[in-house]
């Protein structure tokens, strides 16, 4: 075992130095900026597109007095609840024709104007008629009904409510902690996927470089795998430290302007520690699995083919863990905490919502043992498939027994 650790250290040290001093590491540090930038870009694009399209417009062809009351009510409510909450209203002139004719004419019109006519309200407050498609009617109908009721009641303003503030509430805190859990899971997933891919390409490079033969002749294959995994983990932790420092600096600069972040159930310091530990475990499990794939494949193309299902499986795993965030204590959430692949994600979400600490010790131990098992299986497959070694004996004996001759 000592030799395995020593050799893993030698290999890990080389890989760590090689990666940290490479341009790829700079890309790794900048990596999170890309999804962030893409999010901001597509968010603003979406907003711009929504602005261009505009909201629904409903033509109103009802008695003039009622039409005015309805438009005023709509304006008043939109001021308080948001402009997009209610459809825009446009009073139609009597000579514009029947509602159906108006809608047909609007369809033919192509003047590039925003907010095309989606429906026409006719009749009166007592007997309103909505001319629209079923889908539009389902969407707009209740909102119009609410506006008509409000306009008929003649209440001119909303009842003001005096605020008696408290620091937190059970409902609000639960919601906030749930959000913290989900955010933690998403971050964990993003990091793990990024790193596992790097480990895989690292091993493939090693095979194409033909260095693996030198390593295999000098040290146990297990230590090659462990060294590579730990090097990438160390690199990721350096990355996290850099991002953390940047985040702290951002807090110092813009801190007062930022909203208060919801405090996780176990508290911020422990939550962050658990975050790092669960990240390490999730990465070790997935990374060793990817190493196993690298072990089975002989070419880069084979690696791509084989890693696709695992990536899809990982998406499923993440989806499953994400689903259980709001199901704390239910059987499905407990299953997610036990299954090694979902466990790091589910347990992190749990740390955000449940103050109990002891389950984390059990989970970390289980995840660590499972990661070790996957490394062992991967190394065994590597010996068999790549180094063309290993006899016909297999199963548990091959996994846990000491090698007879080497």
């Amino acid at each position: 075992m000592n030799e395995t650790i020593r050799a893993a250290w030698v290999i890990g040290r080389r890989d760590f130095t090689a990666v940290v001093l490479s341009k790829a590491f700079l890309m790794f540090l900048l990596g999170p900026l890309f999804p962030l930038g893409a999010g901001i870009l597509f968010g603003s694009l979406g907003e711009s597109i929504a602005d261009d399209i505009g909201g629904d417009v409903v033509g109103i062809s009802i008695p003039a007095e009622e039409a005015q009351a309805l438009i005023q009510t709509r304006t008043r409510l939109a001021t308080v609840l948001g402009d997009r909450r209610y459809p825009e209203l446009r009073q139609l002139q009597p000579d514009e024709g029947t509602p159906k004719q108006v809608l047909e004419a609007a369809k033919a019109l192509d003047d590039g104007s925003k907010g095309k006519l989606a429906a026409v309200l006719s009749g009166s407050f007592d007997q309103p008629v909505l001319t629209a498609t079923s889908a539009e009617a389902e969407d707009i109908g209740p909102e119009l009904a609410l506006l008509i009721s409000q306009a008929r009641s003649g209440t001119d303003r909303l009842q003001p409510i005096r605020l008696d503030p408290v620091d937190s509430s059970a409902g609000g805190e639960q919601r906030a902690q749930l959000l913290t859990g989900q955010a933690g899971q998403a971050l964990l997933f993003l990091l793990v996927m990024l790193l596992a891919g790097m480990v895989l390409s690292n091993l493939v490079e090693e095979k194409s470089n033909k260095i693996i033969e030198i390593l295999a002749a000098a040290v146990p294959i297990d230590s090659v795998f462990i060294g590579k995994l730990l090097a990438m983990l160390a690199m990721a932790i350096v990355g996290i430290m850099v991002w953390g420092a940047a985040g702290m600096a951002a807090l110092q600069i813009w801190g007062p302007g930022l909203p208060n972040l919801p405090v996780p159930a176990v508290g911020w310091p422990l939550f962050m520690l658990l975050g790092v530990l669960y990240f390490a475990m999730a990465y070790l499990i997935l990374g060793s699995l990817f190493l196993g794939i690298g072990a089975m494949a002989s070419t880069v193309r084979e690696v791509q083919t084989l890693s696709m299902p695992v990536t899809m499986l990982q998406m499923f795993v993440f989806g499953f863990a994400f689903y259980t965030v709001s199901k704390i204590g239910q059987p499905i959430e407990i299953v997610a905490c036990i299954v090694p692949f979902t466990s790091p994600f589910a347990m992190l979400a749990r740390a955000a919502q449940v103050p109990e600490i002891w389950p984390h010790f059990v989970a970390l131990l289980g995840q660590g043992l499972f990661a070790l098992l996957v490394v062992r299986i991967s190394a065994m497959m590597f010996r068999r498939n790549v180094m063309k070694s290993g006899g016909s004996g297999g199963g548990l004996k091959a996994l846990f027994g000491r090698r007879k001759t080497a």
Binding site: R6, A7, V10, I11, R14, A18, S22, N209, K210, I211, I212, E213, I214, L215, A216, A217, A218, V219, P220, R383, M387, K388, S389, G390, G391, S392, R403, K404, T405, A406
Partner: protein, 313 residues
């Protein structure tokens, strides 16, 4: 610890339906230079990989530096694989130090020794260059230096001469001799008989996955009788009866294997019978002849073909 650096008994390795190594017994004396001769596909690389513990045999056992678990002795072994490979973005001296560190040499000591070795090899100017900046021959030398930086007791070189020009081949031969003089055991595989003939005390001739001969070069050569080439002015006479069976004649030339009794009785008969000796040479068979005799014509032809291909620019 016995007198052998490597001992193999009944090693068998199969890949699918093919038996790459078929019941090999082999002994490599400590402190010797041993050449493993055989054509491509003879099983040399597979055998070396099994001896080093990179792969396990399907059957049989091996002892490397006294241990049945070769990886336990990895720190005392230097190995240059047939397929060369180095980290392209690593500096030459760091590469040597890393290869030493894999085999228990402290990194700083590896750097120190690496610098000295590179200076001695005439690569002082390339110490801090990255591998990708070196020529193929220089990179190969760096890998070789990484193989010996930790001063191993056993050096295993798989086709070390392939890809090297004549000058570098000469340097490599010198390095192998130096390592042996320093007390290391060296075993290398090759399909170029001349290298083995110049360097080795022992050879293992491998063909068809089997070791056909394992012993000293002298013993291999001694398996064949010397060849006599005789030119006479006379073409017939009573002296012809003294020529051994199987003698071949080409004009005035006679070619035959030296009889058991040695050259004297034959010479007496030739002189007394007035054969008119114009020329007489007795040629001791070389390792190539021994190889042909042991491994067969087909294996020898394959070796020559591989050698010719290796010599192509």
């Amino acid at each position: 610890m016995g007198p052998y650096a490597i001992e193999a008994r009944g090693l068998i390795k199969r890949f699918g339906g093919t038996t790459a190594v078929d019941g090999v017994d082999l002994r490599v004396p400590e402190g010797s230079i041993t050449g493993m001769l055989g054509p491509n596909g003879a099983g040399k690389t597979t055998l070396l990989r099994m001896l080093l513990g990179i792969i396990d045999p399907d059957e049989g056992s091996r002892t490397l530096l006294g241990s049945e678990k070769p990886l336990k002795r990895a720190h005392e072994v230097g190995y240059l694989p047939e397929e060369r490979g180095l980290y392209q973005s690593m500096k030459a001296v760091e590469t040597i130090a890393f290869m030493g560190a894999l085999r228990h040499l402290p990194l700083e000591e590896g750097r120190k020794r690496g610098r000295v070795l590179m200076e001695e090899a005439g690569l002082g100017h390339a110490i801090d260059k990255k591998i990708r900046e070196l020529s193929k021959g220089m990179a190969q030398t760096v890998q070789l230096l990484g193989t010996i930086v930790h001063r191993p007791r056993l050096i295993v070189l798989d086709e070390p001469f392939s890809g090297l020009d004549a000058i570098n081949q000469g340097k490599l031969e010198r390095l192998i001799r130096d390592q042996a003089e320093a007390g290391a055991t060296v075993i290398f595989s090759t399909h170029v008989i001349a290298h083995a003939e110049r360097l080795c005390e022992n050879v293992a001739i491998v063909a068809g996955g089997k070791v056909r001969f394992d012993g000293s070069v002298e013993a291999a050569r001694d398996r064949l009788r010397p060849q006599v080439h005789l030119e006479t002015s006379a073409l017939d006479g009573p002296w012809c009866a003294a020529l051994p069976p199987g003698t071949q004649r080409e004009g005035h030339w006679w070619h035959f294997t030296l009889p058991d009794g040695g050259p004297e009785p034959l010479l007496n008969a030739l002189i007394e019978g007035k054969a008119g000796i114009r020329s007489l040479s007795i040629e001791r068979p070389g390792l190539h002849d021994a190889f042909v005799s042991i491994a067969g014509e087909a294996a020898a032809a394959e070796m020559e073909r591989a050698q010719a291909e290796g010599a192509k620019p």
